[in-house]
Structure formats: structure tokens, C-alpha cells
């Protein structure tokens, strides 16, 4: 059950699998930040379940000692939700790439948000398809030339921050491995938030990404929301700031609902408690079909 010990060092969450990522890939920073955040949280690895889709980024559960599920492309959220519904006592994390989360799996995101389970969803947004070697992603800037948009893309990118805010997510943040301590803080705050928490990480792809998206540029240009004096309890301001996605790299908390709404799982629990009282025992379920 839920036990918190402060004695778990970050390396307790590092598995023996050697990452397949290219040297310098931003995802290394994300997994490092995660080790530290989990260490600060203090739940033992076997009480943590980490669900991902498919992509370079989706390999991340395997590099932790938690229970992991590297599932299929785009379906991390449904699987994570079902797991959390079945076992609400677990700490459930979901992760994947921008293609995984906003393209093939994009239809699941609003629904995950509106169910408001206590799940942290980390997207490693590199604005490109890494695993399949450099195709256009839903967050690629308009006009980007890739192997599948040889003359430049014709469509606008999605704005994940704005989407998720308007879907009604109670916790929305953005980070980058270029600010590792900041990223650790964000992930920890997301996990501690009692509801659906979305963390967009601008995690550069060194192999197929654009030069201006690399760590060096990020370090030079990123702007801390806290430093700007943004109040994360202000949804309207958060929405306004989110419009800069794709032009300015804001880091930190966009929005954290000051009054966390009840989670799906707490409502389920209440309902189960209320209804279990007048149930026929499972073995006698057929009695309700008796015609007298």
C-alpha cells in the first residue's frame, strides 16, 4: 500500500537497461529529472506504474525500476487510465512523444483530461518524429521541411499547452532538460498534484531536430514563468501565455487549479462504497433474472 520513505536515492529508480537514445538526446535529461523527482516523492518503485506509447521517448519506462508498460503507438493514456481505475492506490505515470500524444493518440487527451484521474502525463515534445527518422510531427512549425514534407509542411502546428488548458486540465506545466533543476521541480509538483497533471517537455532531438531547438539555444532563450511573475492560479493569464508556444520557450507552471476538483477515482470509490451494501453476492448474480 501507500508507503513513503525518504530514503530512496534517485539511482534506486534507474534500471539496468542501457538507453537506445542517441548521445545528447533530450530524453536523457527527462529520465534524470524523473529519477530525482521520484526520489523526492519517496514511493517505492513497485508502487509506481509507468505507461508509454511508442517512439524514442516512449522507451522511458524501461529505464526506470518502476513497473513499466511500453505499449503501442498513441495508447498510453487509455492504458494508464484503465490501470489507475483498477488500482487507484498506485502512482501512475504516462509518457510519450508529441506524435504519440498529439497525433495518433490526440483523440484520447481531452478525455483523459475530463476524467481528471490522478495521473501525471509527460510528453517529450521534440517537434519531430524521432523513432521513424525525421518525419513531420503535429508540433512541427508550419513550413518545416522533413522527409515527408519535402517542400515544407502546409498545416499549422497544434498548441499542446493551449489545447490542454482549454480541455480543462487542472495542472499544466512546461519544462526542458536545458533547466534540469526546474524540470525536476515541475515533475515533482505534477506528481504531487491530486489530479490530471500535464507536463510538456521540450526535449530536443539531436539527430533530426532543428538547430534552434537544441539545448544550447534553449538555454539562451527560455523564460521562466515564475521569473516573469506569472500567477499559476490565473487561468486566463495562463491561456494568454500559452499562445507563445512555438515562439517563446516558457518554463514552469502555466496553471495549477487552486481548488483541485474531485478525481474520477475518488468518485468511483464513493459510488462503490454506496452500492456494495445492497449487492447480491457475486455467486447469486443470476437470481435477478428469476421470473416469479
Amino acid at each position: 500500500m501507500t508507503t513513503a520513505t525518504a530514503t530512496l536515492a534517485p539511482k534506486a529508480f534507474k534500471s539496468e537497461l542501457k538507453p537506445i537514445w542517441c548521445p545528447g538526446c533530450g530524453d536523457f535529461g527527462v529520465v534524470q529529472a524523473l529519477y530525482r523527482a521520484l526520489s523526492a516523492i519517496g514511493r517505492p518503485a513497485h508502487e509506481i506504474a509507468f505507461i508509454s506509447g511508442i517512439g524514442c521517448s516512449s522507451r522511458i519506462p524501461g529505464y526506470t525500476t518502476a513497473y513499466g508498460f511500453n505499449s503501442v503507438h498513441g495508447r498510453a493514456l487509455p492504458i494508464a487510465q484503465g490501470l489507475k481505475m483498477a488500482r487507484p492506490e498506485l502512482l501512475v505515470l504516462a509518457a510519450g512523444g508529441d506524435g504519440d500524444g498529439f497525433s495518433i493518440g490526440g483523440g484520447h487527451l481531452p478525455h483523459a483530461v475530463r476524467r481528471n484521474q490522478n495521473i501525471t502525463y509527460i510528453v517529450m515534445d521534440n517537434q519531430i518524429y524521432g523513432l521513424t527518422k525525421g518525419q513531420l510531427s503535429p508540433t512541427s512549425p508550419k513550413g518545416l521541411k522533413t522527409v515527408t514534407s519535402v517542400d515544407g509542411s502546409l498545416e499549422n502546428p497544434v498548441n499542446p499547452l493551449m489545447y490542454v488548458l482549454t480541455y480543462g486540465a487542472p495542472f499544466v506545466a512546461q519544462g526542458t532538460p536545458a533547466d534540469l533543476p526546474g524540470l525536476v521541480e515541475i515533475i515533482e509538483a505534477a506528481i504531487r498534484y491530486p489530479g490530471f497533471a500535464f507536463v510538456n517537455v521540450q526535449s530536443p532531438c539531436v539527430t533530426f531536430g532543428e538547430p534552434e531547438q537544441q539545448i544550447k539555444t534553449q538555454k539562451a532563450t527560455m523564460e521562466s514563468l515564475e521569473g516573469m511573475g506569472h500567477d499559476p492560479g490565473n487561468l486566463i493569464e495562463a491561456l494568454d501565455l500559452s499562445r507563445a508556444y512555438g515562439t517563446t520557450l516558457h518554463t514552469g507552471l502555466f496553471y495549477r487549479s487552486p481548488e483541485p476538483p474531485p478525481t474520477f477515482d475518488s468518485l468511483v470509490h464513493e459510488r462503490q462504497q454506496r452500492m456494495m451494501a445492497d449487492a447480491l453476492p457475486r455467486e447469486r448474480i443470476l437470481e435477478q433474472f428469476i421470473q416469479r
Binding site: 517505492p44 508498460f69 505499449s71 487509455p78 492504458i79 483498477a86 428469476i290
Partner: protein, 595 residues
Amino acid sequence: MSRSLVIGMAGSGGDGIVSAGESLIGACASEGYYAIMTKSFGSQIRGGESSCRVRLAVDPVLNSGGALDVAVVLSWDDFLKFGAELPVSGRAMVVYDTRTGVAADDLPLVGVTPAEVFPVPISDLAREAAGTDRAKNTVILGLLAGWLGIGQEATLRGVRKKFAKKGAELIEANERAFHAGVAYAEAHPTAESRKMDPATGSGAKLLTDGNDMCAAAAIFAGCKFYGGYPITPSTEVMQFLSREIWKYGGVLLQAEDEIAGIGAALGASFGGKKAMTATSGPGLSLKSEVLGLATIAELPLVVVDVQRGGPSTGMPTKSEQADLFQAVFSAHGDVVRPVLAPTTVGDTFTTTVEAFNIAEQYQTPVILLSDQEIAQRKEVLDPIDTSEIQLIDRTLPTDAELENYQRFQLTPSGVSPISHPGMEGGNYLGAGIEHDEHGAPTASGRVHAVMNEKRIKKLGPLHKRDDLFRIEGNENAPLALVSWGSSAGVCREAVQLAADRGLDVKLLVPYLLYPVNEDIYRRFFASVVGGLVVEQSHLGQLYRILRMYIDVPGGVVSFCRSGANPFRPKEIVAELRDLALGLQRTLGESRQPQE
């Protein structure tokens, strides 16, 4: 006196025909009769024409029967639209509302003259007795109770129950309408007695449909999670569970689509809970990819496909058995996936429980192929003794096995103990990526081959599960029927009928369609010279799958047709008779002396 009667009724949407059928079958059940009721609607969402068939009998009923013995017509236009679903036999009595303006000697029926015709002022009786036309269906119940001798008290009880919430006035009005029907029937007796033999069975009966039965079986089996998306004709599974599953500590999710439904169910299974999703053909297509994931991640999961006419939207409210290929073959990669099919509302219970047991025991997705006919028909059956039914739970690792846990350990059976999040020491990486015994991703061809072998080998014992087949008839019979799903219920009656007509026939019904138990078919076919594989699809999908695995005797042919109208026992017997005569002729010719 009759041991069995088929009643068919049709009217327009507001006439309450289906509700009359429901009251009737409820009364039959409480009087101790067996019965099956099917309903059918025109394509409008509301209004339009509607019809129902009720087959009631002294003995257990296996299918919805053949031509009507009693036809009740509120509107001839509506009745005729149901064509083949409501065929009138020459021995039938036809009861119709005089309001239709049709003369008794000029019925719009082609090629049959029913034995008896009763033009009844149904609307007028309703208005006189209840002050409204809307009580027509209650008048019909009175007529049927009077003519057929089904318990009046029981029928009235049903009527009262139906109006219980609507106040004393309506109850009384309907009681008067009912009695008006009874009085009319008594004043106009039928020429030959149409009364039912008294019911012989004692004790309470169950009354339900296949979808509710499937859902109840899931609860019985310990299902704790349902994720799904509404689709006809499977939705009642979700509707039942939405009422019940919470009471058993479970959760139901109406997901945003079928992919999320099965994904969430798989997540729950990864969490160690028994999980299910239900859908129909188009939904199963959407679920295919996650089914592949369940196979390689070796996670138990029950996926119900209530088949309807396809492809695509096809005929969503009609039955067909054309998803077998999809169930068996829709996997990517080398996959063997167990496929089960119930044949009646009653055996939907045991078959669903079996699906959970197989899923848990072998850590595999299992597809339960139900069909609209059994899923949505109401059936009266004897209570099911559940005390002997074993439930199987997945094998968890022992403490010793958790010491150096290997989730996908190669064991002699191919089944590896499975942990779930929360178990200390059981941490592993589940994956759709090929993996080694620890769960570590691999691109090794050797490991892939070994793991494919493991995942297929572990299902080996299923090939020996003779208990998942039903065989009826004389073991050495030269003629045979093989059938599955709702068509099997028709064949079971056909075997009886055929025997009455001197045909020596036996029947094999597989509840486990895949993997194919080759031995049982071989043994069954050993004595067989000719036979039919009966299924409701254009291609005859089981027949073709059998031919992949077994030397089906040349005289055994596919008897199949596209869905919508179920087979009738008599047409199967007729087909068998033709087949037998054909075989005799060939035999005769081959015995001609050679010149």
C-alpha cells in the same frame, strides 16, 4: 392441444407490440413454460414498424422456430414488411384488427391460406374498455390468453407490473382491456383447439437475453473492469454492467472510442484485475492493434464481439456469423488467439465464464463471438447450477519466484507466473516490443522465435478440450451437421426432426472455434459420408477454417447464407434429405456393373 407454438405480431411503433411480447414471455416464464422472444424493428429510430416473435413450449426451446402458428396483425403494411421474419403457415390462425379494412377472404398473403382467420375489432375493444386505442396491445394479450390458455392471472400480473408506476387508473383501464380480449376469445372459439398443453416443469425460471447473461457471467467470473464504446447489438452488455459492476468493487468506463475501451481494459488487466470489453464487428476492427499487444504482453483479456450483418455498418440490428475470420485472423504477426462462441442465452453464461478462465489461465486475449440473435433475444430457461463452476485466476509468482523474477520465464507449459504493479519484486517492463524472459526489449531473431513458440505452445492444451464441444445423435451416423453460435440451436432441433423422419444424423457444436481441436473433428467425421456445416454467413467461414486443418469428407458441404433471417429447423432437414438422396444416387451409379 400444442406442446409448442410460434406467435408473431406486427404493428406500427406506437402499438406496443414488443411490449405485449415482453408481457407474454414473462407470463410464460412464470407459468413454467419455456420460450424465446425475438423482436425486429424498421429502420426508424422511433416509430416505424415493429414486430416480435414469441415461441413458447412445454419443453426447452433452442431457437426462435419456423413459420407462425399464430399471427397477430395490427397493420397489414407493417406485417408484410417483415416478410421472411414472420412467415405464416397453412395451419396458422391469423388475428387482425378489422380497422385494417381487409376482408377475411382476401388477406394479402401469397401462396398460403391460413387454417383460421379472425378479424377482431381490436381498436374498438380497446377504446370501449380503456377509453383509448393505446390499450390495443393489452387487448391482444387478453385474446391470446383466452385462445391459447396461457395463465390469465400471470399475464394480468405482467400487465399490472408494467403500469405499476403509472397509477391505479391506467392499471384498471388495462385490466378492462385485457378482460375484453379474453371475453372476445371465449365468445369466438377456435375451430381446432389452440390451447397449450399445461407446463410440466416446476420451479422458477430465468428470463433474460444473451447480452445481460454475458454481463452477469462477467460479474460471476470476477470481472472488475469494463471499458467500451456503445455499438449495436452489444450495448446492453455495457448497460447491465453500468448498473451492476460498482456493487462488486468494479469500474465501468464508457471510453471515447473502441481503442480506448480495450486499452483501458488492458491497463486494468496489467494491474492484475479481470477485465472485459464488448463490441460488434466494426469495433473489433478498431481493437485489433491492442489485441496484438495483449498477445505479446501476455495479458488476460476478454473481448466480446456481438456479431451483426457486415461489413461496416451493414445491418446493425440483424444477426450474422461473419466475423469469424476477423476474430481468428485479424492479428498482425504469428498469433493464435482463442475464439469461443455461445449458442443460446443459457450457455452464454458458461461460455463467458470459460472465456475468462482461458484468458486468465493462459494469459491471452480471448474473443467471445456472440451474435445478435442470441444477444438480444429473450429466453426462458431453467436456473443454472453455478455451484460446480470453477473460476481460474492467473498464476501469480511465489515469493521464491519473486527473488529473481522473470516475467516471461520459459516454462515447460509456456505460461509464466505474472506479477502486477504493487507486488514487491515483481517489477517488470511489459511491452509490445519483442522481449526476452526478463521483459527487456530485443531485436534478436532467435529470441523472437523462442517467444513466438512460447506464446503459441502455451495454448496447446486447448486443442484437447473436448468438453468445449457438444456432440448429439448416434455416434456412427453417416450424416452430420456441424454448426456454431445461434445456428447451432437451430441444428439441435433439426437433428430431432431429422431423426423423426428416419434420417440418421449426428451433430457437432464447437464452443471453442479456435484453435481448432483437430482430433475431435477427425473422430466425428470418421463415420460420416455426408453432412452440412451450417452457419449464417455468405462465405461459410467455419467450413473454410476447418478445411485448413482437417480432411473434411467430400460429402460434407457448407450450408450457409448471409445474415438477417435465422435458419429454420425444417429447411436444414430438407437440405439434409436432398444431400442424402444425392449421395444415394452417386452410390447407386458407382454400383452399376462395369460394361
